[in-house]
């Protein structure tokens, strides 16, 4: 077979140039390995919420609210409880369920306890919407109070060898019977659960106040639950959405207008959000778990494409680095009868062999690197995810495309050689091929500089976030979670804590910076304007300001005791929103179920970042914790994180007051940093890819240097033999290299800066990277190029004796 001839020749040619072949294959393999991992990552990101059966017909209903003056006041993933009742009555709805996240309460089973669990209350129809497999038991009794279904991972952890069905767990003083074990929510889902308890259990929890329960269930103003619906296939979802919203407005029994007193304007509109779009495209408040954003996917796609391009370019570079030998071979073949396509097939065969070998090595490398990437990104990527004809087809197609790209230029270049050269045995490199090689160098510089600037921009922003003054002192704040467990003994606990050496202040709070906050509606009846606005509320004790070391701008903070129970501290953003001119003389109005209260504005704090720095500072009100309020956190300011004595005393006291409740604690600084963990991971990945592109580009520069020296061979030989110093010759060579580097630099700067700017739009607080950073990056890239050229010059020219050079020229 003719093809065997080409394959045999290609293998022998590759084996003859072992070093070049190895560098080529290694470069391509690493590039392919990294690209495979990135593609697995992209596949994973795009696969969110697609593993549930009929997920394309499952929607989450979201709440979009408008305040009176047209300002968007609410964009929330939560919905009012009564919404599902309306949805159920509509023909297009096949199933609907509500999901209410439970607080982080301790779950006990026998002697073991579980403190951090993903506990949800849901309607019995939960498993009609999310078609998860029931491994054991039955969910038919999920309509009864005190019933719970547990996820398989939880069952394996706590009930290893025993049957979990029928066992009883306790949470918050309520007993739950395990009625079923279900499969885990797929890894790539926008939410995960450990327990699904019957929503009717909440009625049991509120059994002491039936009126309050009734109002809670019927309140259209309170955003309490996540509502999911499986809609009939083929339904026009936009029309259905319009229909639903109209139905809600017209329905008198829902009393939408009656409850919220806004009779003239609809307050909430409900929107159907496909669950498959949540992970990448949702920008709502109250998400169950942190989400991604499409920018990351785009960046990863771009990186994968860049890596494939530069590794393919590098292949071309290395293949054509010392063209004389290949040109000689091509001329010989053409002289003895080869047509252009014979030469081209030979080169393509080599390219495909290298490409296929590199793909195999790349797959192996990907499999070896995946565990580290999983650790880095907290994922569970697996090379076995490349399965099915489609995926294998993509791998083969990529191999083929790389072979075509990598072999195309050399095939054209060498097959066009004129046979007349055989008589002179001189193979002059045409200026065009030099220009093309120069363009390849420009490409290398572009990619490297682009990635470097992007990496520097992201690194700079994350450093800025880490160091930024948030308006309070985030250092040395030790936070106890589920603090409500010692609510009754809080004052004694606090008193004992303050006696510990090294503890400066203690406070209790319903929420902390970086976590979710409540929202309440306030009305300001000003002299020249009336504004009703939902603002974020935090309930705290009187030591909060001191503990957090916030700055009070005006007035006074909440005092201990009940004196200031009808007072509020506002931040500057709230004052601005309400347009209050003299805040200490004004009041706000709030209400619930026909009742209204006037709240005195006691003071104004400076704005501080209680939300991640992605968000602007929104209006905030701080009110006093009462005996009835539940608080989640105790915040303790210690003199130093390293004060282990103080920390162990805290643990001792907690045990004393809480009994057997485990201590869930952390330093606030660490929790705030973890908000940006996805961006940090992306930065780490970018650093790896940037370093790889530096490596590949260095190979490219070295190859170009070989090519350049061969191109200028005649000139160099003459200059050396006439005694011109090496520095002058090197300068001449660097001049030819330099212009392509400059073009690459000028092409890369603007797109890189624009990309950084787009990424920075995710943040309300940013700092531009300085000009020095750009200059530094440019200098690094240029320095690597100069060093590569210099090294090749030293190896190929400087070390050669002049005698050799003379012989080379005269006796060719």
């Amino acid at each position: 077979m003719n093809i065997l001839h080409y394959i045999r020749t290609a293998f022998r040619s590759l084996l003859r140039n072992k070093l070049y072949s190895a560098i080529n294959i290694a470069g391509l393999a690493i590039g392919l390995g990294l690209s495979i991992i990135i593609l697995l990552l992209i596949k994973y990101e795009l696969s969110y919420d697609t593993h549930i059966k009929d997920s394309e017909n499952i929607y989450r209903i979201t709440s979009i609210g408008e305040s009176i003056k047209g300002e968007p006041a609410v964009k929330d993933a939560l919905t009012p409880l009564p919404l599902s009742g309306i949805l159920k009555t509509l023909d297009q709805t096949e199933a609907v369920t509500r999901l209410i996240p439970g607080a982080n309460k301790l779950i006990k089973y026998n002697t073991s306890s579980l403190s951090k669990s993903r506990f949800f209350f849901a309607d019995p129809t939960f498993f009609n919407v999310f078609d998860l497999k029931i491994i054991k038991g039955s969910v038919s009794e999920l309509n009864k109070p005190g019933r719970v279904v547990i996820a398989n991972s939880m069952a394996e952890r706590y009930f290893k060898d025993t049957n979990a069905i029928g066992k009883k767990i306790t949470r918050g003083g309520i007993e739950y019977e395990i009625i079923a074990v279900c499969e885990n929510m797929p890894e790539a889902s926008h939410f995960h659960f450990d327990f699904i308890a019957s929503i009717s259990t909440i009625k049991k929890m509120f059994s002491f106040n039936k009126k309050m329960l009734d109002e809670w269930e019927k309140d259209w103003k309170l955003l309490t639950c996540y509502t999911y619906a499986r809609i009939r296939p083929g339904t026009d979802i936009r029309l259905f959405e319009e229909y639903l919203n109209k139905k809600i407005e017209q329905n008198e029994t829902t009393s939408l207008s009656k409850n919220n007193k806004i009779t003239e304007n609809p307050f909430f509109r409900f929107h159907f959000q496909p669950i498959q779009s949540i992970h990448l495209h949702s920008k709502l408040n109250s998400e169950i778990e942190p989400l991604s954003n499409p920018f990351r996917v785009i960046i990863f796609i771009a990186i994968a494409v860049f890596i494939l391009i530069i590794t393919s370019i590098n292949f071309i570079n290395i293949t054509t680095a010392q063209p004389s030998k290949r040109l000689r071979d091509a001329v010989i073949r053409k002289t003895i009868g080869a047509r252009r396509y014979h030469i081209a097939i030979q080169i393509f065969t080599e390219a495909f062999i290298i490409s296929a070998t590199a793909t195999l090595f790349g797959l192996v490398l990907a499999e070896l690197m995946i565990p580290s990437f999983n650790k880095l990104f907290g994922l569970s990527l697996n090379i076995n995810q490349i399965q099915g004809l489609q995926d294998i087809g993509i791998v083969i197609l990529t191999t083929f495309i790389i072979g075509v790209i990598s072999g195309g230029y050399p095939a054209k270049f060498f097959s066009e050689i004129n046979v007349v050269n055989i008589f002179s045995n001189r193979y002059n490199i045409h200026r065009n091929s030099f220009i093309i090689r120069g363009i390849i160098i420009t490409g290398h510089v572009f990619v490297v500089l682009f990635l470097s600037i992007l990496t520097a921009g992201i690194w700079h922003q994350l450093n800025y976030i880490a160091d930024k003054d948030l308006g309070f002192n985030k250092k040395n704040l030790f936070v106890i979670e589920r603090a409500g467990a010692i609510k009754k003994d809080y004052e004694n606990f606090k008193k004992d804590l303050k006696n510990i050496k090294g503890i400066e202040n203690v406070s209790a709070s319903m929420s902390i910076p970086g976590e979710e906050y409540l929202k309440m509606h306030f009305t300001y009846q000003g002299t020249d304007n009336t504004r009703k606005t939902p603002i974020t509320i935090n309930y705290v004790d009187c030591d909060y300001l001191r503990t957090m070391e916030m700055i009070l701008k005006r007035g006074s903070f909440l005092s201990c005791g009940n004196k200031d129970s009808m007072g509020v501290i506002l931040n500057s953003a709230a004052i601005k929103r309400f347009k209050i001119k003299k805040p200490l003389e004004e009041q706000l109005e709030t209400g619930y179920n026909e009742k209204t209260w006037n709240i005195n504005i006691l003071g104004v704090v400076n704005d501080y970042n209680y939300e991640p720095l992605n968000n602007k500072i929104k209006p905030l009100g701080i009110m006093l914790l009462s005996k009835h309020n539940y608080f989640r956190y105790i915040i303790i300011r210690v003199d130093s994180r390293q004060n282990t004595k103080a920390l162990s005393e805290i643990r001792r006291l907690w045990k004393k007051y809480s009994g057997d409740q485990p201590l869930d604690s952390f330093f606030l600084e660490d929790r705030l940093s973890s908000i940006y963990s996805q961006d940090s991971r992306m930065l780490t990945a970018l650093i790896i890819f940037t370093l790889f592109s530096f490596f590949i580009s260095t190979l490219g520069f070295l190859s170009f240097a070989s090519f350049l020296i061969e191109y200028k061979d005649k000139k160099i030989s003459l200059m050396k033999t006439t005694g011109i110093p090496d520095t002058y010759i090197l300068k001449d060579i660097l001049g030819s290299f330099g212009k392509y580097v400059l073009i690459g630099i000028s092409l890369a700067i603007m797109p890189a800066m624009a990309t950084v700017k787009i990424w920075l739009k995710n943040f309300a607080f940013t700092e531009n990277i300085s000009l020095l950073t750009y200059i530094f990056m440019i200098v690094i890239v240029s320095a690597i190029g100069i060093l590569s050229i210099s090294y090749q010059y030293y190896k190929l020219v400087y070390k050669q004796s002049e005698h050799y050079l003379i012989r080379k020229r005269l006796y060719r």
């Binding site: 020749t9 010989i332 007349v420």
Partner: protein
């Protein structure tokens, strides 16, 4: 106008009296190559160098001709033109009565394939191929079947007592063996014309004589050979010598100028 219909297998070509193996069907001597006022000028920027001036030569089928002269006289240039590798600046060139002058490169390549063999001072063997595979290349490019290729090559190797070198690589051969391999590669398709440019330039006297003997054998078998050399000894071995100087033909012992 001669029909020029070539099958890929040259031995089955249907060009009337071009490259057919049945020499007895054609007149024994006919004009292989004819030049009329060939001029070749090389341009380097604005500088023009005239390498050949008004070259008029006829070479018949079956002749064994040497082009001799000092370095720079234009031997290699003339050889490249006669071998249809290079194109003249002006003048006419006829190859087997076909006017090549206006033919494009791909047309000349077609004419060269299988009809003209080339041997140079450097054997130009491909290092990654064995002796057998190097010789096989022209047959491979002309799509001979594998069995045919094996038969032809083994016969040739046997004839020149090189069968034991069949699987050796060029690096394992001496200079004479390398040059013999190059000659076999050039003649394996039984071309009408063999062009040789200083084929013994790298060889010692004994090796040189062996190679020249091979050329003589090939010529006796009917191959037309044009050989360029600066060695008077070699030019004396050939029946006809065209001496050149500064791009002109000075003497041609076929015709004395």
């Amino acid at each position: 106008m001669l029909l020029f219909v070539t099958d890929y297998r040259a031995k089955k070509c249907t060009i009337s009296y071009i490259a057919c193996n049945k020499y007895e069907q054609r007149p024994k001597f006919y004009e292989m190559i004819k030049t009329q006022n060939i001029v070749r000028i090389f341009y380097t920027g604005e500088v023009a160098k005239t390498a050949l001036s008004n070259i008029n030569i006829n070479i018949k089928k079956g002749e064994y001709v040497s082009l001799s002269g000092p370095s720079g006289c234009g031997k290699s240039t003339l050889l490249s033109i006669l071998g249809l590798i290079d194109k003249q600046t002006s003048g006419e060139l006829f190859f087997l009565d076909i006017n090549i002058s206006k033919k494009k490169e791909h047309q000349r390549a077609k004419l060269r394939r299988g009809n003209i063999g080339y041997v140079f001072k450097d054997p130009f063997l491909l290092d990654e191929l064995t002796v057998f595979e190097n010789i096989e290349l022209p047959l491979f490019y002309m799509r001979y079947k594998r069995k045919e290729r094996i038969d032809i090559i083994e016969n040739a190797l046997l004839k020149y007592k090189m069968i034991h070198l069949k699987n050796k690589y060029p690096i394992q051969l001496n200079e004479e063996q390398q040059q013999m391999t190059a000659i076999l590669r050039a003649t394996v398709t039984n071309p009408s014309l063999l062009i040789a440019d200083e084929p013994t330039g790298r060889l010692d006297s004994k090796e040189r004589d062996n190679i020249l003997k091979t050329f003589s054998t090939l010529n006796e078998e009917g191959m037309t050979i044009i050989l360029a050399t600066h060695s008077p000894y070699i030019s004396d071995q050939t029946p006809r010598t065209i001496r050149m100087f500064d791009g002109h033909v000075v003497t041609d012992n076929n015709i004395t100028l």
